[in-house]
Structures are given as C-alpha cells and as structure tokens.
C-alpha cells in the first residue's frame, strides 16, 4: 500500500502542472501581501495595549445593549482574553506575523480549486492515457489502487494548506519583520478560564475546519473522475459546485428550511463556533451526520463503479 501511494505521488509530482499550481498559490500569497502593504497599512505594533483597552470599553457598551445571551457570552470571552493579554504582556495575533495567516483562510477556496483539479484527473487520466490497463493487471486489488489515489489527493491538499500557512507567515514576516512570532494563542476553556495554546496548531486546525468544503469538492471531483473517466467533466462540475454551492445555499436558506439537508449548508462548520448557524435549529452533530452521509454516498459510488467495471478502451 505504501508503495502504491509512492507511485501515485511520483506520477503527481512528475507533472509540470502540479508545480505550476504550487507556484501560483505562492504567487497569490505574495501578491496579496504586497498589495495590502501599500493599500492598508498594518496595525502599529507599539499601540496594541491602547487598542485593547479601547476595544474592551467598546465591548462593555455592546454587552449592555445586547439581548442575545449567546452573543453576550461570546463578547465576555473576548473581554476576558483581552484582559489576560494585557496582564500577561501577550501581543495579540493581529500585531504579529501570524495575522496574515489568519486572513489566509480566505484563500482556501483557491486551494480547493487546485485540489479538485488533481482529484478530477487522478483516475480519469489513467483511462485517457490507457495506462489503466497496466495499472490493474498487477497483484493489487482495485480498491487498494483507488485508495492510494484518494490518499494521494488528500496529501496534496494537506501540502497546499501547509504551504499556505507557511507562505502567509513568511510573507508577512518579510514585509513587516518577524517580531512577536512566538505569541501564544489565547482561548477560554469550558470552565471560563483563559488558556494559552500553540499558535501554529490553532491556525492549522482553523484551516482544517475551513477545509470541509475543500474535502467535499475534491471528493465529488474524484467520484466523477472515477465514474465518467473524463477529467474535464469532473473538474468542470466541481468548479461549478465550488463557486455556486455556497452561494445558492445561502440564497435559498432564508426561504426554505429543507436546505439544511443539502451538502453546502453544512460544510462551513465554523458557524457553530461563531454561534450563528445558517438555519435556526442546526447543530454540530446534525451537520456531522449529514456530511458523513454525503461522504459515504460519494465514496461508495466511486468505489463500486471503479472496482466492478470492465476496462474497455
């Protein structure tokens, strides 16, 4: 199995296109970084104490005017974190090189695009090149071969996410200096106490949380690739879903409650942390169940078709 995965990776990274995609991602990061330096000057690091104190005053007035208890709790946590930072001399993330990395999660759709292109080609290309025949007349079950391909796609996604994380950090650091890079991540635990956590770990898990959509468009692309053996079809449909999926969902969500059973209503899990689900009554377990069902359907379709079909061409 390890060797099958190595093969898939060898094929993937021998392709020029794969490297171009990585280069494009890095260029985008650099471009956005440079533009934002001239367009919107960064926060003045020396002023962070004053800003936090100001922020806390604003939070206090908001709490007094707020009716929703959930939002009140959210605001109180922010206030606690600010106070902790002030008393422990911890520079908040927005004044460190990590701030760009935090914003970098907005670029995850670009990663999704690249990953779905790879996912759409990885099975279908073998058919269009005719190499599928020599691939399948080897002492390995078709399931294992398909699994190796899927894992290879996931690895590529992970690689791009890590690249995005590192590149945004490096970009911000190079443009503004690396001061306070070792600032910890502050959060409020279940008991209501402020805790210090690892910043990199926090940012990466935030990326993963924002990558549910990525996982699904990649899986859909992989499925179409395996069922229709046509890379263009797989990539086209998946791009369409990537662009329109979330948009259409939020458009219809206001009108129809059954939207909550659709895939894209459930992919942005961060809505539960921010305390504002798309449709009233949706919960994290609900979303996880819906997502698992979709995942199962996509994966089973891909697997059954791939393992049963006669290789004709």
């Amino acid at each position: 199995m390890y060797k099958l995965l190595r093969n898939e990776n060898m094929k993937l990274y021998s392709k020029l296109g794969t490297w171009i995609m990585m280069l494009l991602l890095l260029s985008c990061v650099a471009l956005i970084g440079v533009i934002s330096k001239y367009d919107a000057p960064s926060l003045d690091g020396s002023q962070w104490r004053a800003h936090l104190e100001q922020n806390n005053k604003e939070i206090l007035t908001s709490i007094q005017n707020e009716q929703n208890p959930k939002i009140v709790a959210h605001l109180e946590n922010s206030k606690k974190i600010n106070e902790y930072a002030l008393s422990h001399h911890i520079v908040p993330i927005d004044y460190t090189p990590w701030s760009f990395t935090k914003e970098g999660s907005n670029m995850i759709p670009l990663v999704s695009l690249f990953v779905l292109i790879v996912a759409g080609g990885i099975v279908a290309n073998e058919f269009s090149w005719g190499t599928i025949k020599s691939l399948l007349v080897k002492p390995h079950s078709r399931s294992k071969i398909l699994l190796a391909k899927y894992v290879s796609v996931l690895q590529f996604a992970l690689l791009l996410l890590l690249m995005l994380l590192a590149a945004t950090f490096a970009c911000k650091g190079l443009l503004y200096g690396f001061a306070d890079w070792d600032t910890p991540y502050l959060f409020v635990n279940a008991q209501g106490d402020v805790q210090e956590g690892n910043m990199i770990l926090h940012l990466f898990s935030m990326y993963l949380l924002n990558s549910v959509e990525l996982l699904f468009v990649a899986t859909i692309s992989f499925m179409i690739s395996s069922v229709f053996r046509n890379p263009s079809l797989a990539i086209g449909i998946s791009i369409l879903l990537l662009i329109l999926g979330g948009l259409a969902t939020s458009l219809f969500a206001a009108k129809y409650t059954w939207i909550k059973y659709t895939l894209f209503a459930n992919t942005s899990l961060s809505m539960y942390w921010e305390g504002s689900p798309l449709i009233e009554g949706m919960t994290l377990p609900f979303s996880l169940i819906v997502l698992s069902l979709y995942f199962l359907v996509f994966i089973l379709t891909a697997w059954i078709v791939f393992t049963k079909r006669d290789i004709v061409s």
């Binding site: 060797k3 099958l4 190595r6 093969n7 060898m10 094929k11 021998s14 392709k15 020029l16 090149w129 005719g130 190499t131 025949k133 020599s134 691939l135 399948l136 007349v137 080897k138 002492p139 390995h140 079950s141 049963k308 006669d310 290789i311 004709v312």
Partner: protein
C-alpha cells in the same frame, strides 16, 4: 489436468447485455510454449485476454493461472502474469526509468538491480532516462516488454504484440519470445489476426471465430503435408505433348494445362516417374514445383471464409 498446464480456461463465456462475445471456450496452455490466439478482428481474442488478466469480468466459466482462480484469487493468480493489453501505454511525461520504477513498485520481489537488468535485456540503456514522449513506437514496445518481464513472470500475455512494429522489430520480438519459452519455460500467449506472423512465432495456435473456439493445432501438424496427395506444377517447353504423354501413363493422374505449365495432383512417390517419362520423350523441363498448402489456405478452409 496436464502437469505442464499453466493457464487453464474452462467453459469461459462473456456476455455483454444480450450479446455473447466469447462462447464456452476451454483451453489448456502449457509452459514453455508460445501459444497463439488467432482470429479475425472482432473474434473475441482481446476480450478473452482481458478476462485472463482480470480487466473484464467473466460471465461464466473459470480461468485459473497456476491453480489460482482469476475470479476469486485475483492477486494470487495475476502475480505470475506479465501482460501488455493492446498497445503498451506509458506515462509519457516521465522517463522510461520512472515508468519502470512505477511498475516495479507494484510487483513483489523486484529490486533496482532487476530493473537495470531488464533495461539492458531490451536494449534501452541509452534512452532510459529520457522522457517517454521522445520514444518511437518500437522503443515504447520494448519498454512495455521490459515492464511485463520485470518480475520474471511464468506467463506472458501479449495482445497484438506486433502492431506498429517494423519488420526488424517483429523479428526481434519473435526471437525474444522464443528464447523466453525455450530457456525460461515461460508460457507465452499472443494474439494476432495475422497468420503469417503466427506461423513464425507460435508452437500452437487456437483459432477463434465469432467468440467460439474452432480448433487448437500445433504449427507442425498444420504444416504437415499429406504425401499421398500433393499438387505439382510443371514448367515445360511442349505442354501439349507433355499433357498427352502424361495422361497416357498408367498412373491415374489428371493434369490441366495452362500456358506452359501443367498442374496435377498425385502421390509424392509418383513424381520421379513423371519426370522420367517427360525426359525420355525429350520434353525439356524447366521447373518441377510442389505446391504446398499455406497456413492461410488451411485457416480459410477451417473458418470457412473464402
């Protein structure tokens, strides 16, 4: 079951929808022989090969390789097999060497040394690190054979192996397969629609037509001529006189005259008597030629295509 049988087909049938592509074929393919599947295009040869290597499902019947059933013990059965189904297809954007590594990673017990060995076996040392895009068809074919031979398979299956090869390439391939069968005892299975090729390459051929097995014959048997009834062609300077003379002989031979040649059917032992009679009558003989039936004639006779 014969001890030498490596690949065994029993009542193998393939149906796609209502259409029967292969019907009830049973074959025993022995080791150390080059075994040909011969038949016109669309006869079901490729489908049969696809079923042997697990690319197509078997509707009915069983195929076993070294006793392992392709249907139920695929990984065990295919371990012994090296195969090229139709054209050898490569990852064109990678070097030949990387293509070989890719294959070797999927096969048990193939190390780098063996990869090198196979490269020199097919004579690709010079170009092995170039991208496959730059290869000629013949080179691709050789790379394909290198891939198929990496794990020293005891069964080598090649579908239309000579497609696109020049005469030198075909000859090279033929010698190679011959050596594999004779020296290594490999069971080589090739398919082709070209008779002349099969005649030179194979020890035994199975003739397939419209999905059915017509006959299995060894090339020797097919080429064997019945000496009691051969056709000879005589080229003489006085055909009419010769005709009259020969019909008067007490040999019971019927001749036909065509320009300067006489054609007749007779037993092989009678030929000297014919020649002697003509010589005695001072008829000049320029050529006496025995007309052997070609494999093609036999094939057409067997398949009933004229």
């Amino acid at each position: 079951m014969n001890q030498d049988t490596v690949v065994q087909l029993r009542n193998v049938t393939k149906k796609i929808g209502m259409k029967t592509i292969v019907k009830d074929i049973s074959l025993d393919i022995p080791k150390g022989k080059v075994f040909g599947l011969l038949g016109p295009n669309g006869a079901g040869k490729t489908t049969l090969i696809r079923m042997m290597v697990g690319l197509a499902s078997i509707t009915d019947g069983n195929i076993t390789i070294h006793g392992a059933n392709v249907k139920h013990e695929f990984e065990k059965a295919i371990r012994h097999v090296g195969a090229i189904v139709e054209n050898p297809e490569m990852y064109n954007y990678m070097s030949g060497y990387k293509n070989l590594l890719h294959t070797s990673n999927m096969l048990p017990g193939v190390n780098r040394k063996r990869v090198k060995e196979v490269v020199s076996l097919v004579g690709l040392e010079k170009s092995i690190h170039q991208k496959v895009t730059t290869y000629s068809l013949g080179m691709k074919q050789r790379l394909g054979i290198a891939q198929a031979l990496l794990h020293r398979p005891s069964v080598l299956i090649l579908d239309e192996p000579t497609n696109g090869l020049d005469p030198a390439g075909i000859r090279e391939l033929r010698d190679h397969l011959r050596r594999l069968a004779d020296v290594e005892g490999t069971a080589v299975i090739v398919s082709s629609h070209l008779l002349s090729e099969m005649e030179l390459m194979c020890d035994e051929i199975a003739i397939i037509q419209e999905g059915r097995l017509i006959d299995v014959k060894s090339i020797k048997d097919m080429m064997h001529t019945d000496t009691s009834n051969v056709t000879i062609v005589l080229d003489v300077d006085q055909p009419q006189e010769a005709y009259v003379l020969l019909t008067q002989l007490p040999l019971d031979i019927s001749f036909t005259v065509h320009n300067r040649t006489l054609t007749g059917k007779l037993a092989k032992e009678q030929i000297p008597a014919v020649v002697f009679a003509l010589a005695q009558a001072e008829i000049n003989i320029y050529e006496v030629k025995m007309q052997t039936q070609t494999l093609e004639d036999k094939f057409l006779e067997m398949t009933g295509v004229h």
